[in-house]
Symmetry: C2
């Protein structure tokens, strides 16, 4: 959401395109490569941004177009992408937000309560501490989700900043 002026982190080194990796996943599960799925991989990986199902739908061709994809299929396919390791998702304000996982480094987010902007940051120290604490608690870590809420630099310097998202 509101990811228009995000500044992406450095991509990590990967040997396959998202589509190739997805094809491998489909094969390994006996699932089928349909034009809807292919169309969606390409759309989703054509820009680096956070998005929810609604925002994705909005950019998709509408009913009647040969590339039309229905809402249920969008949901089903996004779930498949997460499963395939192409996307990661988290909940924000009652919706699922998706972002690139494949070819993209682990990171966390600042969430500006004023403008709704999600900004990424990386910290190996954070991961280090997470693992240290987990070890103390004998907890086997799979992943984590950290969102730091507050006011972004832009919003705290510029007075009267109008918010870009008012949902919730």
């Amino acid at each position: 959401m509101n990811s228009s002026d995000q500044d992406p982190l450095e991509p990590v080194q990967v040997s396959q395109t998202p589509l190739e990796r997805f094809e491998e996943y489909l094969l390994s599960r006996g699932l089928r490569k349909t034009k809807q799925k292919v169309f969606l991989v390409e759309r989703v990986f054509s820009h680096h941004e956070h998005f929810d199902a609604d925002q994705l739908m909005e950019q998709l061709p509408s009913k009647g177009d040969e590339n039309y994809v229905s809402r249920p299929t969008v949901y089903r396919t996004l779930k498949e992408f997460v499963d395939a390791g192409l996307l990661r998702s988290f909940e924000l304000n009652g919706r699922s937000v998706f972002e690139h996982d494949y070819g993209y480094p682990e990171h966390d987010h600042f969430y500006c309560l004023k403008c709704g902007e999600l900004t990424e940051f990386q910290s190996e120290e954070l991961t280090r501490i997470r693992d240290e604490i987990a070890r103390e608690h004998k907890f086997r870590v799979r992943s984590h989700r950290l969102i730091v809420q507050g006011i972004c630099h832009e919003c705290s310097s510029r007075r009267n900043s109008r918010r870009r998202q008012d949902r919730v």
Copy 2:
């Protein structure tokens, strides 16, 4: 959710009871102290556990009882509690989960993907790093939400552990 065998952190020093603090909040906002609100503060602060609106409803007297509280009122009141600083909330599996804020130290959570248990942990080092990173990004922190997902000690030692929550 599934907070039956949680082991609570040490409470922090507070000078008022939750109800007293709530009364102050109501006064400051020109809101009214009703028997539903008072009943709910007392219920919510009688145990230390994570809960969602449904779980709270379930423990409440049913329709017909003099202490019956309707679902909309539960939702409205929980929101008021959050606003008053009595409760904190976060989203998990599509629902809002609430926990004590007033009189309770800041903490984060382990979330066991097997049994659904939420376990609390504290780390000042985490907060330190959070603030350090935020400073670098000129981000003004209000709070954060960290959930570390994985498998808890109990579940990884005991084989065949049946999950306690299957919602979602």
